[in-house]
Amino acid sequence: MPEAEVMCQEPEVDFTLIDRIIRDDFNGNREAMIMMMQAIQRHYHFLPEPALHYLSQAISVPLTKIYEVATFYASFSLIPKGKHILHVCTGTACHLKGSGGMVKHIAGKLGIAPGGTTADKKFTLETVNCLGACAVSPVVVLDEKYHPKATVGLLNELIDQVNAE
């Protein structure tokens, strides 16, 4: 995706909110940087660059360090995500019951790689290493709703439903 397109999709960053997260929720404590970033991401569904610049200045941590953390941990994203997030569990129990094939199937159907977002910004496909619901594997989570014992057929239905909205 061209960079310019991503940039213009970015929402306005509300610095009062970022400030509240940094100072009120975490007392400006540098050690809580990961949790501050999580709070920012919870709000915007990704880490907007201006917010990270602000964070860097507010807690006096170089932007490179913030970038290092943002790219080291799998849960952080520097690019905006889709409206609907589809998590496919690829933990061992789910893998043995075919979750790898499901990831490939969805990736093919949506035309994106795992971690990617569709051009219409409707879907982001993500894999997760274990949700602890191994008894009902394979598990797929669409927008925080669990779908136990998922099948390729069910995924087709879910995606078609969202697309029909």
Binding site: T92, H105, N129
Partner: protein
């Protein structure tokens, strides 16, 4: 109504306990108001049951009970609890005091349960558990082999108490041990008791807990007590269930550790994929602080211990102790060399004691009953019990707590109920991604599970994930899966781990695509041994275990991939195809209906065929065929 309201009433009168006696008086008052024989409906709301809709069940159950109020003699308390353990049968519901067990309960069953069982005293037969192959259903929890064969020390309260209500934990004995250590024991006596118990770390390495506490306590400076709840092994959910089902056991264990080591600050590092655990622990800390059981001046003794929850951000390597501490400091989680131990210089360069969730949860009971009592469970070298999460191709998927030294046979067949669909047991994988696959039928079904034994045969105890694999699991593909996982999760600072894993992944991927060459296995072994020898942390030094153990025990499967270009288990897609046996196919059309790729064709009541061009090998037809007519070729 009973406990729920009365407990709230009692709580409203309590501010902070300023002494141990007050705590015990409060506990006694709660117990006096709690009739152990009062009717209770326990709804399992662990992650497994939640995934299949137990929160809806809880709500409809509460509504159904309220709606039938007039007809019920003694109103039952509908209680939300943590994991009952029998996850494959969820949503689960237990009716006390009789101990009736209903499984796979749907919200629409709630009304019938209230009418028939609560009011009428009759069983709802279709909701009872029936073991595989048995004719009779079993009504009571205590008679179900899955539960009856377990020994619950760590999980004794999990699934029985409401994890969101501290008073319920107090009724069941929480903070009794903390009261005891603060008023009757010196820090050294606490350490001595833990040493006597021979408790070893439950996170995988198995280091003696008492020794760790002792060496940390001897260090000068501010001490930190850290709990590792970053349960990263895929397929393992023991720690999640403890944090979600009995948070106060973990907090109490940490507080006792803090007292023993002279610490005033603790951290719980929990993985972000466990939102329920974070929520439960956060609430538990607040409730314990309100009562003066955590925080400043605990029980009026002047002992101070503040705890907070930190969440991980999705990095497996942060389960490694030094990486975890680095992550707690808000940095990237890269392990550091251990020539200086964390007990000397860990978090904030200060003496830090890090234990696993299950280790801390064991502590209160050891304090109350004594170390000698604890060594009565388990084996000489591995004392106590261990919680396993039993998953994969086994009938009874769930949480299993057994004494150390229990045989794999007992766990997989006795408790697990054996392998579904008349398949053969092929292997058991323990120890997470850096563990090993144990070939079961041939040699090791009667091996006793403990720290030493598993290491001897090339696997490890790990944190307690136990994944059962049947004949349809390809060992080459499984090792590709684990190596791929570790490639993603390696922090990248040691070249052997970073590059060795990537090379191994390339080779294994080639094998699963049918592009294997002679000499690949030898090359894998060479790289694997090198990776294990020259990496820094626990992740790197055990990273090649899945490859090495599968080569050791399943060499013939590697050879089949390389020489015959066949995947005997029917997993590696280019190396097999499905075919319908016309002799066995009845033309029922089920596979045609289930096929998402529309690759199955055929007229009703006539043998069907699969179009190999269209087939995506998703296994739907194979799994669904009732006549065993679909063959892996």
């Amino acid at each position: 109504m009973n406990t729920a309201t009365s407990a709230a009433a009692v709580l409203s009168g309590v501010k902070r306990f300023v002494g141990g006696q007050e705590l015990e008086q409060h506990r006694q008052a709660l117990i006096d108001r709690t009739d152990p024989n009062a009717p209770r409906i326990l709804v399992c709301c662990g992650t497994g049951c939640k995934a299949v809709g137990s929160l809806d069940l809880l709500e409809t159950m509460q509504n159904s009970v309220a709606a039938s109020g007039a007809a019920i003699k003694v109103m039952p308390e509908v209680k939300r609890t943590g994991c009952h353990g029998f996850c494959s049968r969820g949503p689960l519901l237990t009716l006390q005091p009789e101990g009736l067990f209903y499984q796979r309960v749907k919200p629409e069953d709630a009304e019938e349960i209230v009418k028939q069982t609560v009011i009428g005293g009759e069983l709802v037969k279709r909701l009872l558990y029936k073991p595989q192959g048995a004719k009779e259903s079993i009504a009571k929890v205590g008679d179900i082999p899955f539960f009856a064969k377990q020994t619950k020390l760590v999980l004794k309260r999990v699934g029985r108490i409401d994890p969101f209500d501290i008073n319920d934990s107090l009724v069941h004995g929480a903070y009794k041990a903390l009261n005891k250590v603060l008023n009757e024991m010196s820090p050294d006596q606490v350490i001595e008791e833990i040493k006597n118990s021979k408790l070893r770390g439950r996170g995988g390495a198995g280091f003696p807990t008492g020794l760790k506490w002792e060496s940390c306590s001897r260090q000068p400076g501010r001490h930190y007590v850290i709990c590792n709840g970053d349960e990263g092994d895929p397929g393992a959910f023991m720690d999640a269930s403890v944090m979600e089902g009995d948070p106060h056991a973990v907090l109490e264990g940490m507080a006792i550790a803090a007292y023993a080591m002279g610490s005033d600050r603790g951290f719980l590092y929990v993985r972000m994929e466990y939102p329920l655990a974070v929520q439960t622990l956060t609430r538990a800390i607040r409730q314990a602080e309100e009562l003066g059981l955590i925080g400043d001046n605990i029980l009026g003794t002047g002992f101070k211990f503040k705890v907070s929850v930190s969440t991980g951000a999705g990095a497996f390597v942060c389960g490694e102790s030094s990486a975890l501490m680095s992550s707690l400091e808000g940095k990237v989680g890269r392990p550091r060399p251990k020539y200086i131990r964390s007990t000397e210089k860990g978090f904030r360069d200060s003496p830090s004691n890090l234990n696993n969730v299950e280790t801390y949860a064991n502590v209160p009971e050891i304090i109350l009953r004594g170390g000698a009592w604890y060594t009565g469970y388990g084996t000489e070298r591995s004392a106590g019990t261990k919680v396993f999460s039993l998953t994969g191709n086994v009938h009874n998927v769930g949480l299993v707590e057994v004494p150390m030294g229990t045989s794999l046979r007992e766990i997989v067949y006795g408790i697990g109920g054996g392998i579904p669909n008349k398949k053969e047991l092929k292997a058991v994988q323990t120890g997470g991604p850096s563990g090993g696959c144990i070939p079961i039928p041939k040699k090791f079904l009667d091996i006793n599970v403990g720290f030493g034994k598993l290491a001897e045969i090339g696997s490890m105890m790990g944190s307690g994930g136990m994944i059962v694999m049947d004949e349809n699991i390809c060992m080459v593909e499984v090792s590709r899966y684990f190596i791929n996982f570790l490639v993603e999760e390696s922090c990248g600072q040691c070249t052997p781990c970073r590059e060795g894993l990537t090379r191994m992944k390339d080779i294994l991927t080639r094998l699963t695509l049918g592009e294997g060459r002679e000499g690949d296995v030898e090359l894998l072994e060479e790289i694997g041994k090198f990776t294990n020898s020259f990496s820094l942390c626990g992740l790197g030094t055990s990273a090649a275990n899945p490859v090495l153990s599968t080569i050791k025990y399943f060499r013939e499967e590697y050879d089949a991939h390389i020489r015959d270009k066949k995947c005997p288990a029917g997993v590696c897609k280019p190396l097999y195809y499905y075919e319908i046996d016309p002799e066995k196919c009845t033309g029922c059309g089920l596979c045609r209906a289930k096929c998402p790729a529309k690759a199955v064709a055929g007229e009703k009541k006539k043998p069907h065929t699969i179009d190999q061009e269209l087939c995506i090998k998703c296994m739907e037809c194979y799994k669904n065929c009732k006549f065993d007519s679909i063959k892996i070729m």
